[in-house]
């Protein structure tokens, strides 16, 4: 499905941007897009199912992945998380929080010069391991970091 979307984006032509694609309706009523959203993964309540949905049932732990996140997050509604992958040809990064009601938080396909780096802010319901999954040259790597949460941020 990813490939299909990518092909559509390419079909939109060099000068067209994604925005133009939207405007022209090439991405359509978002049906193409919506079909590509990893619903089963994002709806998974178990870490194992979430990992399976992104092809990361098994991963190699890597010290070349850095998770920058606070040791203690006072507000679970806004936990800054940065993932830096020093693994060459990093093409995919996913962020998960093991103890969230739905562990899979975000996935990022990177291409055409995008470095192995994403920075965002996530909600965490409680103290949990944050896991980063990296795919590089088709191989799956991972790293984890514990973030202690003082006030959970899923309901608030």
């Amino acid at each position: 499905m990813n490939k299909m979307r990518r092909a559509l984006l390419k079909a939109a032509g060099g000068a067209s941007t994604v925005a133009a694609g939207f405007a022209a309706g090439i991405l359509g009523s978002l049906k193409v897009f919506a079909a590509g959203w990893n619903e089963s993964g994002f709806d998974s309540k178990a870490m194992a199912d979430a990992l399976k949905s992104i092809g990361a049932t098994a991963s190699i732990e890597s010290k070349d992945i850095l998770i920058k996140a606070p040791e203690i997050a006072e507000n679970g509604a806004v936990v800054p998380v940065e993932v830096v992958s020093r693994i060459p040809n990093t093409e995919f990064i996913a962020i998960l929080a093991e103890k969230n009601p739905f562990p899979l938080i975000g996935t990022f396909d990177l291409m055409n010069g995008a470095e192995g780096f994403v920075s965002t802010r996530i909600k965490m319901g409680q103290t949990s391991l944050v896991k980063a999954i990296v795919r590089a040259d088709g191989k799956i790597y991972s790293a984890t970091k514990e973030v202690k949460v003082t006030i959970g941020g899923c309901g608030g």
């Binding site: 994002f42 806004v78 975000g106 291409m111 010069g113 995008a114 920075s119 996530i122």
Partner: protein, 106 residues
């Protein structure tokens, strides 16, 4: 109507450091309206994409666990001052928005 976004792209060497802020409630569907007690419907960004001079560089899929008013940072190697970056998102209600900027010299 979708709320505005902010974007900044700064060149550091041959890498553009891109920072994006989106105004979006990112409702989890687990909250209740404090006055009525009614559940607030789930409302969150599902897709966010970025292009550099029209070429796709980042394709993100999000859950409702990305924080309210999402922040996204990414880095683009080989970018040059003046290059055009467009970031677009769409949510589970089919709302969408996009913003563009040009890479500023470091």
């Amino acid at each position: 109507m979708a709320e505005p976004m902010k974007i900044r792209a700064t060149l550091q060497g041959d890498v553009a450091d891109v920072k994006v802020l989106v105004n979006h409630p990112m409702e989890t569907g687990q909250r209740k309206d404090p006055n009525s007690g009614e559940p607030i419907p789930i409302h969150f960004i599902q897709f966010i994409t970025a292009t550099l001079n029209g070429k796709l560089v980042l394709e993100g899929q999000w859950s409702q666990a990305i924080s309210k008013n999402p922040f996204l940072g990414f880095k683009l190697k080989g970018a040059k001052a003046g290059d055009k970056i467009v970031v677009s998102w769409s949510d589970n209600r089919r709302d969408k928005s996009s913003i563009e900027t040009t890479v500023a010299g470091g």
